[in-house]
């Protein structure tokens, strides 16, 4: 995977990215690259620095260090950058007074890469009416509108910050399904933060865990599959498993599940049944002690 990202141009390149609010360190000199055509999950507990990183990428906040997005500097070239970068921040950031038709007209008016036809086609699949105002819509419908606007923009990078927070499962599933089926292709890159890890882990190609302003994990899903493994161990081999320094252990049906980082899988297979750990389990294990 590394050789692939080395040959393709990086959409985002960060070196020594840092930001502090007073005495709180939000980002502690992190380095990362995001290659084209990837779907990257930026996962971390509250206050870990996710939003700070996204804000820096989007040119919404100042920062220290080097950061280049699509070869542009977000500090000074935000306007050009936004022709190629789309952004859904949280649910319900569309202004409440805006009508559906006005939203389409406005984005069509100011965005050179917006396709009105595409947007109207997406809207036709929803119950949204052109004359409805955002304040009359449910949270789920607002997200449908926002997604229709964003998917109609031919952008290189889409940044999603908790895009499905507070939505019911039907809207959440539909959201990611639409993104995958009608939007994503090898020319596009998606960077997403969410707490609902379970729902996106099957669509991610890369994973970044962030904790206290530092990157704990930064790897492709394939690498994660190679590096981390879960083993279900019977009572007789528990001590042997513990000797290999697992990241985490939990009991289930009289057996113990251990999570290992970097232990050869052949060695683990002797202890018991091997699994690929879920992102959520990995997250919980690596973030242990965050709020303590």
């Amino acid at each position: 995977m590394n050789d692939v990202s080395a040959t393709t141009t990086n959409i985002v390149r960060a070196r020594g990215l840092a930001k502090r609010y007073g005495s709180t360190v939000a980002l502690d000199h992190v380095d990362f690259d995001i290659a084209a055509g990837r779907i990257v999950g930026l996962i971390g507990p509250n206050g870990a620095g996710k939003t700070t990183a996204l804000k820096a990428i989007l040119g919404l906040a100042e920062f220290e260090g080097e950061l280049s997005v699509l070869g542009l500097d977000p500090r000074t070239q935000r306007t050009q950058l936004m022709q190629q970068v789309c952004f859904i921040a949280d649910v319900a950031v569309l202004p409440r007074w805006l009508r559906v038709s006005e939203a389409v007209d406005f984005v069509a008016g100011v965005h050179p890469r917006f396709s009105r036809e595409k947007c109207l086609a997406f809207l036709a699949r929803t119950k949204l009416q052109p004359t409805q105002r955002v304040r009359e819509l449910s949270k789920g419908m607002i997200v449908q509108l926002h997604l229709a606007l964003v998917m109609a923009i031919d952008a290189k990078l889409l940044v999603l910050d908790e895009p499905t927070l507070g939505l019911d499962i039907l809207y959440r599933k539909e959201f990611y399904q639409n993104l995958l089926n009608d939007y994503f292709d090898e020319q596009k890159t998606i960077l997403v933060t969410t707490h609902q890890v379970e729902e996106i882990e099957h669509i991610l190609t890369d994973l970044i865990f962030i904790k206290d302003g530092r990157l704990i994990v930064n790897a492709s899903m394939d690498q994660i599959g190679e590096r981390y493994a879960e083993v279900m161990v019977g009572p007789d081999k528990v001590e042997a498993a513990r000797a290999l320094k697992p990241l985490n252990e939990r009991g289930i049906f009289g057996k113990t599940v251990f999570l290992f980082d970097g232990v050869p899988q052949a060695q683990l297979a002797q202890l018991g049944e091997l699994h690929k750990p879920s992102v959520a389990d990995l997250f919980v294990a690596t973030m242990k002690g965050t709020y303590a």
């Binding site: 306007t79 921040a89 100011v110 890469r113």
Partner: protein, 350 residues
Amino acid sequence: MNAPSEIRQAAMTKSNPMQTFLWLLKREYWEHRGGFFWAPLIAGGVVIAIALLSLVVAEATAARHGINLGGMNLDTIAHNMTADQIAQFNAGLTVGLMALSIPIMVTLSFVVFFYLLGALYDDRRDRSVLFWKSLPVSDLDTVLSKVVAAVLVAPALAIAATIVLHLAFLILVSAYAGLHSVNPLPLLWNPAPLLAMWTKLILLIPLNALWALPTVGWLLLCSAFARSKPFLWAVAVPVAFGAVMGFTHLLQQLSIPSAWYWKNIVGRILFGVVPGGWFDIGGNGGIRALSTGDNVNIALDRFDLVNSLLSWNRILGALASPELWIGVAAGVALIVAAIAFRRHRVETSV
């Protein structure tokens, strides 16, 4: 990527800055249709309602006391008037119509004041700023669109409402005259003075705009800067500063009278959006001169108050005054500061 699609790409990514700006203005209008469009119309409607009520009361009173308004023939009166008298009547009519439009101008002042205070704050409070900032529109354009909406779009709509009010009032009075078999056409519907007045109102928009810039800049700066309560920032800071200066007599020590501070600083950064605020500066005979008894009498004698207030001399005097241009410079500086804050201040604490 092959050649044709690259060309298409290049054509697609070319955005027209003028078109973007017009869309930004349209957005301001969509959001503030109530204040920009309906508020002046409603103010005018209230004026008309009061006028209508007065006529009804007058009619009822006249009927009760057996006063007959009929038989008075404006037609003959008009024929018997000298040219000077007709000019006086027109001037009087102009004064009357201008006075009628005061409620619209007061409404406009309030609307624009609060529009500016919220312009760079409300979208931060409801977080829709994150949507606006996700589009390829510069902060410069965004802030300038709000300046233009405040000093050109809103006043233009208020003047349109004023013209509608004037026409409605003339129709109302004509109908009343007609009811008493008086032909209102020759005197009331003389197009020249009406058109002259309306033209002047429209031409004064740019002067009012220049005069308003310190207020526009200050309110936008507070709006972009405040993490909560922009109104308090906008009003409390200059007032508190003035009060402290008053207690400590600091300004006096700099040989600046405190009245000067209140008039030229506080007045300019808070009340600049009131149309015609430049009346009493520059030029020969400002309101100060007018307020001496002599001049008022002369002005009233000639039914020339409005013409005197809105005379070209006075307008040119204002345009030539340093007060206006120092204010413009200060306003531009404040707007630049507002743009700087707009770039990175995305949150409010509410």
